[in-house]
């Protein structure tokens, strides 16, 4: 597709279960970002990839959160042993290069609900 694709769009899970959220960036985009948006809140940075490496993972809230990117393309955000406070919309974005002026293109997000 032409834009950033995220799946699933909605995920309901039980507390304690693991979840995986997928992001497929725009083809050729080397930079990829994960953000979290809680209800009515701003965007909280989680992690940034340049290629397959993550030079900034300072926003990951705990060791239950991890992310990887393979082949410089698809990225997976994994949340282990989910908690109710993990409920949020997880947004992925990509950009053509790491230059500061570059526009970030966002996906529509994955809404996670932890019961």
């Amino acid at each position: 597709g032409a834009g950033v694709s995220q799946s699933p769009s909605n995920k309901v899970t039980e507390k304690g279960k693991d979840v995986e959220l997928r992001c497929d960036p725009i083809s050729g985009h080397t930079a990829l970002y994960w953000y979290r948006q809680s209800l009515g809140q701003g965007l909280e940075f989680l992690i940034y990839f340049q290629g397959n490496s993550a030079p900034d993972k300072s926003g990951l809230p705990s060791d239950r959160f991890s992310a990887e990117r393979t082949g410089g393309s698809v990225s997976t955000l994994t949340i282990q042993r989910t908690q109710q406070e993990d409920s949020a919309v997880y947004l992925c974005a990509s950009s053509l290069e790491r230059l500061a002026a570059g526009e970030l293109f966002f996906g529509e997000g994955s809404r996670l609900t932890v019961l």
Binding site: F45, Y48, A100, A101, E103, E108
Partner: protein
């Protein structure tokens, strides 16, 4: 650490009128980039306008313009001739000249009344 503050959680404007959304930021850097993003109910964030800190001229994109006051660390968004489709959440964002993550404010929800 850099921070971005949007002090107006909600704003309302009459269709065809002009509205200004406020944003302030804090940084010790001299060169950086500022952005306004729009998030409609569909959730997909869309870039509205961007400003390079080293440019004194305020950026303009059709009905959208900014008032960039570097010394005051202020970056407001003006929407002229407001349209119903402008109703959305608007986020101000900061990015270091070194690139990397965008730092977002808390957002301002704009409603447009017909």
């Amino acid at each position: 650490a850099q921070t971005v503050t949007q002090s107006q959680p909600e704003m309302s404007v009459q269709e065809a009128e002009t509205v200004t959304l406020s944003c302030t930021y804090d940084t010790s850097e001299s060169d950086y980039y500022l952005f306004w993003y729009k998030q409609p109910p569909s959730r997909q964030m869309i870039l509205v306008i961007r400003q390079e800190a080293y440019k004194q001229q305020n950026a303009t994109e059709n009905r959208f313009s900014v008032n960039f006051q570097k010394a005051a660390k202020s970056f407001s968004l003006k929407i002229s001739d407001s349209q119903l489709g402008d109703a959305a959440m608007y986020f101000c964002a900061y990015r270091s000249q070194r690139g990397g993550k965008l730092i977002f404010g808390q957002g301002t929800e704009l409603s447009v009344k017909p």
